[in-house]
Symmetry: C2
Subunit: 318 residues, 2 copies
């Protein structure tokens, strides 16, 4: 995988994705003493960067694969991204979700035209239900991150950011399964080799941090973080890219994630999900070591269940 | 007041304000069957359009007035806008607030360098405390909306919107005291006389609606709306402009305001305060009568107390 793969992905998806805005904040610039540019993938279709990779992947399937349909097991942003990409390309999509998934996520996935099949809330059940459907219908499984097409699509966010803003000294990116981080690091090192790529991970789900230091993939054991998009472990493809291009992986606490989220909501007026706030949390943690740098920060998404919040409000008007 | 006044205000403030982005939403375009352009003043300095008028006003004070300082009685966005504008221009600012104002607003106002003086939570107390300070220190009172400099500053948001997007068929704008609406209507009718200017007001604070129909200013009696920025009554200056340029004022329920707010937060990933969501609520209410129109919607601000929301989250991580 190299920059040219990301450029090719971009040609494939550029008329379909949202070219998300790059935002700045006098508050964050003031705190860090740097010029910070936020790539706002919370404004992407389905509210997360995942749509880039999903569309890039489905659009490359063969005619036969398209005719049979795609499948994923996910209750997160990948499910909705794949559902929408498939719908736009006229491909049948089936999503396997734990039966206790939030109703709002089930409804959103169905809203994009996908069929939802429920399973038990275990890795084994997800895989076995998906395998059964694949055997029966010939569906193609679309992995959420361990796929070069997904990685190349994810990398187009950093490509857009750097082409708009120019050379960066640092780029901060969250890491879970490593799809966004792999794409971001390939794009960044390709466009500005001097830039440092810093991955940020919740310390309560530190498997990528451990893997990076030990040079082998650690499983994600009982991750206990509000950053629900970052609970997964690295894949073989993403780990290889990360070892090659990422300069460091740093950890942030749950409170640091919440503090970063609060800056987005209160100061920048952006709805950012916990996983999406992790990169800013990392920047703030490192900011004492930085000054007058030009920094990119990837906001990965903004999908968060606001039911409780709006229930508070509903009580005020009733 | 005419378009040239707004252009002059713009020259005065353009290097200091944020040129806020114009955003679109496939969701809202889908619901309305129109092309809808949101002017995002929630991204303005201090989180609301109020900064435009405040800076335009303070920057026009005489040397003597600047030396003595400015005062306002407000616990809302005007207070913070005036505080910041004064600070940037090296002018002392004093804000009179009810003693039961939310701590977050008091802290924000002080954070912008203003002195906060507390009063009782009545119109009379606010005025008498402010008058006393004006007599003692020679402060200049900056009214939140009944002032041509404030109106001209507020109108620069619509000016930017229309200059960026081109001719509009409709523009939707919230109305409280009428400063934003006056400026918006002058700019809109000046730039595209064929556009309809639709003001939107909470039906639980319908004094502007009543005033517009009866041709005289009604007081705002016991307004009971979550749109706290729209509880005020019209001023003489704003009422005159509104009678001349506004095509209609429509009312929305509290539930309709909440539904619009939820679209901003959940679908558009924008933190918008209830007052700022009123214009979209009005558009959605009228949308059956519209089709394939080009529509501007002013989001007036995004300042909302998120303490309870983040308390919910804090419990999850502890």
């Amino acid at each position: 995988m190299e920059l040219s793969d990301i450029r090719e992905a971009y040609e494939r998806i550029k008329d379909t994705i949202v070219k998300t805005p790059v935002m700045t904040s006098t508050t964050v610039d003031g705190i860090t003493g740097c010029q910070v540019y936020f790539k706002c993938e919370n404004f992407q279709r389905v509210g997360a960067f995942k749509f880039r990779g999903a569309f890039n992947t489905v659009s490359q399937l063969t005619k036969e694969e398209r005719a049979r349909g795609v499948i994923a097991h996910s209750s997160g942003n990948h499910a909705q991204a794949l559902a929408l990409a498939a719908e736009m390309l006229g491909v049948r999509a089936t999503i396997v979700m734990p039966h206790n998934s939030p109703a709002v996520k089930v409804a959103a996935t169905k809203g994009y035209g996908a069929e939802v099949v429920f399973c038990e809330n275990t890795t084994e059940s997800r895989a076995s239900v998906a395998n059964e459907l694949m055997e029966k219908h010939g569906f193609t499984l679309i992995h959420p991150y361990n796929d070069n097409r997904i990685i190349a699509g994810a990398g187009t966010a950093a490509l857009e950011l750097i082409e708009e803003i120019g050379q960066l000294d640092y780029i901060f990116c969250p890491v879970g399964g490593g799809g966004l981080l792999s794409g971001t690091s390939i794009a960044t090192k390709g466009l500005c080799p001097e830039s440092k790529v810093i991955a940020v991970e919740p310390q309560n789900a530190d498997d990528a941090y451990q893997s990076f230091r030990a040079n082998k993939i650690f499983p994600s054991v009982n991750p206990n973080t509000i950053a629900d998009g970052l609970r997964t472990q690295l894949g073989e493809l993403t780990f290889e890219v990360i070892q090659k291009y990422v300069d460091d992986i740093i950890l942030v606490s749950e409170q640091e994630i919440l503090d970063a989220m609060r800056i987005f909501w209160e100061r920048m007026k952006l709805v950012v999900e916990p996983s999406g706030a992790v990169s800013l949390a990392g920047l703030l943690k490192m900011s004492e070591d930085l000054s007058d740098c030009k920094i990119g920060v990837i906001i990965s998404g903004g999908n968060i269940d606001l039911t409780e919040f709006f229930e508070l409000y509903s009580k005020q008007i009733s």
